[in-house]
């Protein structure tokens, strides 16, 4: 009996490992920045280059930092979701315009709508590196004390917003 049970048990264990392993998204790399202070920066604003923005300006409120670019294809998928979120006035979204060109970025916002309270320009991608950005779009949930509480890699879908981001925002807003 044991002769058959042992290989069978090993086989089942292997299947379970495969089932878990293959259902994981290898592109999703856990960020070491979760529960760390959001890296500081001072950057020009996209629409008003004379003005600057730094994360410290958002102290006291929960906010989203959304990394986007006009060249990024999946940003187009998530954009309507963000525009819709902005209309609901639940949480301010700051855009980090990553490795883009100002005219392209401005035209993109004019064409698809602007869900951001403001966007900052990270044209050489240095701030993106500080935030561990490796695949645009990425979205960070930052709390009132300026600590990163969540990171979402890839486009924000209505489902991700409903199940992941908004519950976190609600929890942090308390």
């Amino acid at each position: 009996m044991l002769r058959f049970l042992v290989p069978f048990a090993l086989f089942v264990a292997l299947i379970i490992f495969f089932a878990i392993g293959l259902n994981r998204d290898p592109r999703e790399i856990p960020s070491p920045l979760i529960n760390q202070a959001a890296p500081a920066f001072t950057l020009q604003q996209l629409q008003a280059p004379a003005k600057q923005f730094s994360p410290a300006d958002m102290r006291g409120q929960v906010w989203l930092l959304n990394v986007w670019a006009s060249w990024c294809v999946s940003c187009r998928d998530e954009h309507p979701v963000l525009v819709d979120l902005a209309k609901r006035n639940l949480v301010p979204i700051v855009g980090l315009n990553y490795k883009d060109q100002r005219p392209d970025a401005l035209q993109w916002l004019a064409q698809f709508g602007n869900p951001y309270v403001l966007s900052v320009t990270d044209f050489d991608g240095r701030i993106g590196i500080d935030y561990g950005v490796y695949g645009v779009p990425e979205t960070y949930v930052i709390d009132k004390q300026g600590v990163i509480r969540m990171k979402h890699i890839g486009p924000v879908t209505p489902q991700v917003l409903q199940d992941k981001i908004l519950p976190k925002v609600r929890e942090l807003s308390k």
């Binding site: 790399i29 856990p30 960020s31 070491p32 920045l33 991608g125 240095r126 590196i129």
Partner: protein, 155 residues
């Protein structure tokens, strides 16, 4: 004749095209060699199975630029790795550090090896017991003898 000349002219233009693509940082071969050595130990986040040294992804170029800057500022290789893991996690290192979460990764194969050797030893021991020597009966011994004998004659 003019066609050949024109052709030669256009061909000569490709030399310029290549000259433009040459990396602008080749001025410091020592630093580039150090960068290359370090980049071989680091994973490109975009193409995941390529090193930072091999990858042509935009992010890899940026990270190489960043590493180059850090080297110029006098940071050691260890400090640069630290800088990158703070941002991207241990995943950027091709050689993961030994710590409690990676014990299984580092020692798992040896555990499997030990388990396999133990299993094999157990199996062999059991088989020896099964294959215990059973002495031949007188009849069998006689038959064996005659068989061996006839075999010898044929040869």
């Amino acid at each position: 004749m003019t066609r050949i000349l024109l052709g030669m002219f256009f061909l000569s233009l490709t030399a310029f095209a290549q000259a433009v693509e040459a990396p602008p940082t080749a001025q410091d071969p020592v630093l580039e060699a150090r960068l290359n050595n370090l980049a071989k130990e680091l994973r490109c986040l975009v193409c995941q199975n390529e090193t930072l040294a091999d990858s042509h992804a935009e992010l890899a170029l940026d990270l190489r630029r960043e590493i180059r800057d850090k080297m110029r500022q006098g940071l050691s290789d260890a400090q640069i790795k630290e800088y990158l893991t703070q941002r991207y996690g241990d995943f950027v290192l091709y050689r993961p550090p030994v710590k409690s979460t990676t014990w299984l990764l580092w020692f798992g194969p040896f555990l499997l090896l030990i388990a396999a050797i133990a299993g094999l030893a157990y199996f062999l021991k059991r088989r020896r017991r099964v294959l215990e020597e059973i002495p031949l009966s007188a009849e069998e011994a006689a038959r064996l003898k005659s068989l061996l004998h006839s075999e010898n004659e044929q040869a």
